[in-house]
């Protein structure tokens, strides 16, 4: 027995040594192979450059090209959606009764905030980057900061005009997800501050790519921001003069001009900034990538093909006859009013091969005209009328000798039909009831209006997912 025990003891010792030789008790290694860790980034000039591009990347090819992001534009009179189909998410807005679970509108919200997150993360690292740049690299950092401030201003401007009051994040450090809603004053103050910073820090030409921010883009956008803040809801009327001044600054640069023919404004790849270019694009986004055919179209031919974006009848009927009307619309064999392929792009199913023009010189002229008329109170102010008449004459209309600000807003509705500005102009000028009142009975019958969105509260509901996680977002 004893012998057996010593034999066992000996075996156990050998065994323990063997086992101990194989196993270890260190902490297990974390798997970080092949990953980009946040803590190590923003530590070289290359990081600064690719970090800046990161702020652009969501914006450009995904957000504005895609029809399943921005449904609120359908609330305006220049768009309507086909009925009884998958256009529900546009219909909700077309009928002024949006749900906070609208998944496409939620996509837009989500992506805009990704850009804010990217911009804030970049700006949070300003000191770290400042410490590493020297000499000519400082220029790169300053320009990058200008671009990132410009982008943050642009995105907040989209957010505040669409959803109304929103949280205002200026840093990603210590974001809790429980932030409260900021006031319109606070939000617009940041937008203006960002754009002024951009205007002062950016040069007159885009660097490292034709679509990158420059001084004129920031200034043109600033003009629109001032115009907007002068109307609903802030009604800071002193800003009309500021809007006119900023617009004038861009006009006087001499860089931009109306294309002689409407055919030159967009529609085909040859008019992309990166191709032959055109003189009219101030802010444009490139989108020449393959997108899922189904998703490719807020601004594209596909939106016409799919019946995403039709035209309300009253809007069409009131549209002044002439070359611009012919250019803007197509009528199908069955009498349906579509936007035209000429205006919204050659059809290349599944590929967006042309720029998304966000702010054209024609719109800037009209921003100037309205702001100048309102600031001066003079319906015959010469420079305002000259800007207005430039747009009218290219459209095949006669020049006018006097115009009210309302005339200018309608002119913008025609000129920018189906583009970005109409819904925001209706909100800003508090004309929703007026516009709805002249709606054609056919449209009213097809898509009867609810009262979820009103002139006094024209905002998209903040997505349910965010409100449920942060009750502070309840309005």
């Amino acid at each position: 027995m004893k012998r057996q025990l010593t034999s066992l003891a000996r075996k156990m010792v050998y065994l323990s040594l063997f086992v101990a030789g194989v196993i270890s008790c260190d902490d297990l290694a974390i798997d970080t192979q092949g990953e980009l860790a946040a803590e190590q980034f923003y530590s070289s000039v290359a990081d600064i450059q690719s970090g800046t591009l990161g702020v652009y990347s969501v914006l450009s090819d995904k957000l504005f090209a895609n029809s399943e992001n921005y449904c609120h534009f359908w609330a305006a009179d220049d768009r309507t959606a086909a009925t009884g189909s998958n256009k529900t998410f546009y219909l909700e807005y077309d009928q002024m009764q949006p749900l906070d679970t609208n998944p496409w509108q939620t996509n837009g919200w989500n992506q805009l905030w990704e850009i804010i997150g990217a911009a804030n993360t970049f700006l949070d690292n300003e000191e770290k980057m400042r410490a590493l740049v020297q000499g000519s690299d400082e220029e790169i950092l300053d320009r990058s900061l200008g671009e990132v401030h410009y982008l943050r201003g642009l995105i907040y401007f989209e957010l505040v005009r669409t959803w109304g009051t929103i949280p205002l994040l200026t840093s990603q450090a210590d974001v809790t997800g429980q932030e409260p809603l900021a006031s319109f004053e606070e939000i617009y103050a940041l937008i203006i501050e960002d754009l002024i910073f951009a205007k002062n820090n950016l040069g007159p030409t885009s660097v490292n790519g034709i679509y990158r921010a420059n001084k004129w883009m920031a200034q043109a956008l600033l003009a629109n921001v001032y115009l907007t803040t002068a109307g609903f809801p802030l009604k800071n009327e002193a800003n009309y003069a500021l809007a006119a001044a900023e617009a004038k600054g861009v006009m006087d640069s001499g860089i931009f001009a109306l294309e002689p023919s409407l055919n030159g404004i967009m529609g085909v790849q040859a008019n992309n900034l990166s191709e032959d270019g055109n003189t009219e694009a101030i802010i444009a986004f490139p989108a020449n990538i393959g997108l899922d055919g189904w998703n490719a179209g807020n601004y594209q031919a596909e939106s016409i093909l799919f019946g995403d974006k039709w035209v309300e009848i009253a809007f069409y009927n009131n549209f002044p006859e002439g070359t611009r009307k012919d250019f803007t619309f197509d009528i199908s064999d069955t009498g349906q009013i579509f936007y035209s392929i000429e205006k919204f792009g050659e059809q290349d199913f599944g590929n967006v091969n042309k720029d998304i023009n966000y702010l054209r010189y024609a719109e800037l002229l009209l921003i100037y005209a309205e702001a100048q008329i309102r600031a001066t109170g003079n319906n015959s102010e010469a420079s305002a009328l000259s800007a207005l008449n430039d747009v009218r004459e290219r459209a095949g209309l006669t020049a006018v000798a006097s115009a009210t600000w309302e005339d200018v807003v309608w002119e913008k509705a025609w000129e920018n039909a189906g583009e970005w500005s109409r819904w925001y102009d209706i909100i800003r000028t508090e004309t929703l009831d007026e516009v709805n009142a002249i709606r054609d009975p056919y449209d009213n019958n097809l898509t009867p209006l609810g009262n979820g969105i009103t002139e006094a509260f024209p905002w998209s509901p903040i997505p349910a997912n965010d409100v449920s996680a942060n009750p502070n977002l309840q309005k």
Binding site: E35, G54, K87, G117, N120, L169, G293, N465
Partner: protein, 985 residues
């Protein structure tokens, strides 16, 4: 096996004690239906005199007239024959159904007798597996194991099943059970050839599964493959061929009806008919060329399977070697699945004390267009693509898209025949699973075991998607993944019995496992030619490449002890410490369990004649879940390349990752209590097992949607609680038992109630924003107080007879629940002389299915603007205002509504088979064969359901439990007829 050995050893001891003098001798042969039984026990009743049969089943024993000879053998019913002077007494023994499952494998080298089991374990044995031809192992469990729900999500060839043991614990994590094959932990259940399986144990409660610790919360499936045995070499050859058709088809409009409805809708929307249908001549032309796409997409699919195995052994060594080839055509044309496998299990006693066991499995799987998502597209195309568009145009080119153009909208579907024939999606998996263990007997009762294993898989996927209309849209790519799972373990095992009544078994284990996977992909878009397929991606206009690696390590120390007093009182306890590399700070977790059992029938006071088994048992334990991505806890950046970049070079665009870091992440823990009762009557001829359980999962590894204004998308957190409560009932019995006719019956019923107890903080619901099939939103929601997998949406209240619009309740609400109230299976095996008959029913009851496919094919969605379903005949029109479907031009219809929630209950005749076994026939003898079984069988012959879609069981949500029961069109289960044979030498 153990028991046979035991008796073989014990009986000779008794023999020596016999001392009565006998007058005569009698001899004979002991057989069962398949031949002689060596080692059967022959005893004179009331004495210790006896013998055992020799290798050929012969025996000889001395007897006196009037003695009763008792013939017994483990696994068979004991027979008694009175000696009245016969010269020979031949005995054919019959299998005892009650004893078939006597030994239960419970993991880490341990098996227990059923009477010593304290946990909840379902067992499926090879006898049951042999009755129906199986493509994959998971099919063997469906309806056969109580407490285990298996769902055939897709009828794609080779597709696996969704397996859930006692419900779903995790909301966003994996709920798949851990699979262990011959000691190799964490393998793909369908990497085993079903014909190689000896038995499957499913460890359902925590007292059984806690030994597997951090991965055991979803249950553990232990598969044991066949081994050779000491004795004659056996060669078996099996083959079958089967013919499958879709189990159902959808009623569609005729071509002329389709045109009528399409025009009606278009006129309602625009005032005009669709231009292509605006004259009777055009309409007639379309009707003349119309196509039944269901006929074209589906076919009678043929599957063939060949299996050969060799097994045998000597005292010191045994072997099992098998080879298998399976070729399964899919129901949809140009889809296929093949499998080649080779297995070798060899065990050897190297010395008296040292034993070596090895197991090697080589398997290759090849799939062609068998991705369930691809199949779903074909299934939807078969019913949703309009039959007025012919497959080819006048020039013999494909009509890739619908010819019904110029109306309010156009269908987005692509011609399914074009897609099916011209797409190439291949996958091949080459897998090596090897396991080796050395067992050394240190001293009596104490063993040391060292084992190591590897599961290496090389997975290659290649695809070629033809363009819908131009070559610039062609996409093609290849990706290659390597998965290398390695593991080793040391085990010390002590087993002893003291004073005959105290049995103690104790085990200590150290184990380490590592999973390393690497991937590489290359993709191209825009090919000027389709002729190179995916074999020359360098031709693509746009090329992208990617690569990645992930690694996870797990280190564990485990202790387990069982104590058994006189087979009356049973105690089991285990504790396991695990460390996982996927957590940053809190890597370790402790999981413990215990269980008690009481064999009341072994008590002296228990004297029932009828009740042969009465056992009460209960257990409690903790198990864990660590199944998150290896970098989920980290703060990472991502590259979102800005390709255009205004003509400038350098497109790398770095921004914060979508996932918010969480350095505090740790285990998800499930605590489960189980109570079981086993009752056996009439010598265990009938057995009933009842189990009740209650599980609570805490600190869920939850991928929470963070408020999106934070710029992030989600974060993995430990939060929330989910409860699962339910019962499993299992009943087995031998209904008829006489010389020629046997009828074995088994039935099981399981019920599980799942409930989300809490989410993150005060959140009461999460809108997951989930989509299926690309971008179709699903109405699924997670809400406190409801189960995982409920539907939320509009409540449909019918049609407004005045204008044909739909009527909905003012508020949205919960409109359905994809979880069944019950799942059940009923299995019958009968044999009469050489015939055997099996019929097996399986079903679920009380679950809802969101039939989105139905809403698509009635034209509710712009994807298919003009409906194809025959149901449209019941559409509201000005002249039929009481019809149940809203008007084609209704302006307010909603897809996410209760209108499309249907009862998914079904009962299915899963298998019926009839076989005949030939033996002792000249032709067989001439071949040297022992027996030949011929059989015919049918699978899924009858399905009884109220569900209006193709198959109530399919779901496009796949493994995602939040998306259970969502049907946007998926390949249906097939109805299959099989002819087969098994030849045994």
């Amino acid at each position: 096996m153990k028991n046979k050995l035991f008796k073989n050893l014990i009986f000779p001891v008794f023999l020596c004690l016999g001392s009565v003098i006998y007058a005569q001798t009698v001899q004979g042969v002991v057989t069962d239906v398949s031949g002689p039984i060596p080692g059967a026990n022959i005893v004179i009743k009331g004495t210790t005199t006896g013998t055992v049969t020799d290798f050929d089943g012969n025996y000889e024993i001395a007897v006196n007239t009037g003695d009763v000879i008792v013939v017994s053998y483990i696994g068979y019913l004991t027979q008694e024959i009175e000696y009245t002077g016969q010269e020979t007494i031949d005995v054919q023994l019959q299998e005892d159904a009650a004893l078939l499952e006597e030994v239960v494998v419970v993991g880490y080298g341990k098996s227990v007798k059923k009477e010593d089991l304290t946990g909840a374990v379902s067992v499926v044995g090879s006898k049951e597996l042999e009755k129906s031809p199986l493509i994959n192992v998971d099919q063997a469990l469906q309806g056969r194991a109580s407490g285990v729900q298996l769902t055939q999500n897709s009828g794609a060839p080779g597709a696996g099943l969704k397996i859930r043991v006692r419900g779903s614990n995790s909301i966003t994590g994996s709920n798949s059970p851990l699979v262990v094959v011959d000691g190799l932990i964490d393998v793909d259940i369908n990497s085993v050839n079903p014909s190689d399986i000896q038995s499957i144990s499913v460890l359902k409660d925590a007292s059984s599964s806690a030994i597997y610790g951090n991965r055991a919360a979803n249950g553990v499936i232990i598969i044991t493959t066949k081994k050779g045995a000491d004795g004659k070499s056996i060669i078996e050859f099996g083959s079958y061929i089967s013919f499958s058709d879709p189990s159902d088809s959808i009623d569609l409009l005729s071509a002329s009806e389709f045109i009528d409805f399409a025009n009606t809708k278009n006129i309602g929307a625009t005032g005009n008919p669709i231009p292509v249908f605006d004259s009777q001549q055009k309409i007639n032309d379309f009707i003349a060329k119309s196509v039944d796409y269901q006929e074209e997409v589906y076919r009678t699919a043929i599957a063939q399977n060949y299996q050969i195995s060799f097994r045998g052994g000597s005292e010191k060594m045994n072997y099992y070697v098998s080879g298998n080839y399976l070729d399964q055509e899919g129901l949809a044309i140009n889809t296929n699945f093949k499998r080649y496998s080779l297995r070798s299990n060899i065990n050897a006693d190297l010395t008296d004390k040292l034993n070596l066991s090895t197991s090697l499995n080589l398997i290759r799987q090849e799939g062609l267009n068998n991705d369930p998502g691809f199949g779903a597209g074909l299934a939807l195309g078969a019913v949703g693509f309009d039959k007025t568009t012919p497959i080819f145009d006048a020039n013999g080119n494909y009509n890739r898209q619908t010819l019904v153009i110029g109306g309010v909208q156009e269908s987005v579907l692509t011609n399914p025949i074009f897609t099916a024939r011209e797409s190439i999606g291949t996958s091949s998996v080459n897998r090596v699973q090897a396991n080796v263990a050395l067992n050394y007997n240190l001293v009596e009762n104490l063993d040391f075991n060292v084992s190591g294993g590897i599961d290496y898989a090389n997975i290659a996927v290649a695809y070629f998607n033809p363009a819908n209309n131009d070559a610039a849209q062609i996409t093609a790519g290849q990706n290659a993944n390597n998965s290398n799972k390695t593991q080793y373990a040391f085990r010390l095992n002590y087993d002893n019995t003291f004073n005959e009544k105290h049995n103690l078994n104790a085990t200590a284990i150290f184990e380490e496992r590592k999973n390393l996977s690497t991937g590489f992909n290359a993709d191209g878009r825009g090919f000027y030619t389709a002729s190179t397929g995916f074999d020359n991606i360098g031709l693509a206009d746009t090329q992208t490449i990617g690569s990645g690696v992930s690694e996870r390590t797990l280190r564990s120390a485990i202790g387990r002890a069982t104590y058994n007093y006189d087979s009356r009182y049973l105690v089991t306890g285990s504790v396991r410490y695990d460390e996982s590399s996927v957590f940053l700070k809190d890597q370790g977790g402790v999981f413990s369990s215990f269980a008690l059992g009481w064999n009341i029938n072994n008590e002296e006071f228990f004297t029932s004649e009828t009740i042969s088994t009465l056992r009460l048992r209960g257990g409690w334990g903790q198990t864990g879940n660590e199944l998150i991505g290896t970098s989920d806890a980290l703060n990472l950046l991502r590259n979102n390349p800005w390709i255009p970049n205004g003509g400038a070079t350098g497109s790398t665009a770095i921004l914060p990752g979508t996932r918010l870091a969480n350095p505090d992440l740790t285990w998800e823990t499930t605590v489960q209590t189980n109570i079981g009762l086993d009752v056996g009557i009439l010598n265990d001829r009938f057995n009933l097992t009842l189990e009740y359980y209650s599980k609570k999962t805490e600190d869920l590894l939850l991928t929470r949607q963070v408020p999106r204004f934070t710029g992030r998308v989600d974060q993995v957190v430990n939060a929330g609680e989910v409860e699962n409560k339910g019962f499993d009932i299992n009943l087995t019995g031998r209904i008829v038992q006489n010389e020629n006719f046997l009828w074995d019956f088994s039935a099981n019923l399981s019920s599980n109630k799942n409930k989300v107890l809490s989410l993150i903080g005060d959140e009461t619901e999460v809108f997951p924003g989930l989509t299926v099939g690309g971008s179709i939103p699903a109405p699924s929601i997670v809400r406190v107080g409801e189960p995982i997998g409920v539907f939320y949406g509009f409540i449909y209240e019918g049609v407004n007879s005045a204008d044909g619009n739909a009527i909905y309740a003012a508020d949205q609400d919960i409109i359905g629940d994809a979880n069944p109230d019950f799942t059940f299976g009923i299995n019958n095996n009968m044999s009469y002389k050489g015939f055997d008959l099996n019929f097996f029913f399986q079903g679920v009851s009380g679950n809802d299915v969101f039939n989105r496919a139905r809403s698509l094919i009635i034209g509710r969605d712009g994807r298919i603007p003009f409906g194809t379903s025959a149901e449209l005949r019941n559409t509201w029109t000005a002249s039929n205002t009481s019809a149940p479907l809203p008007s084609l031009n209704a302006t307010n219809t909603q897809s996410q509504s209760s209108e499309f929630i249907e009862d998914g209950s079904f009962i299915r005749l899963k298998n019926i088979s009839l076989g005949y076994t030939l033996r002792d026939v000249n032709a067989l003898d001439a071949m040297g064969a022992e027996s030949l079984r011929l059989y015919v069988s049918a699978q899924n012959l009858i399905t009884i359901t109220n569900y209006s879609g193709l198959d109530p069981e399919v779901s496009n949500g796949g493994e995602n439990d939040r998306l259970a029961g969502v049907d946007i069109g998926a390949l249906p289960t097939s109805k299959t007829f099989t002819l087969g044979l098994n030849l045994k030498f």
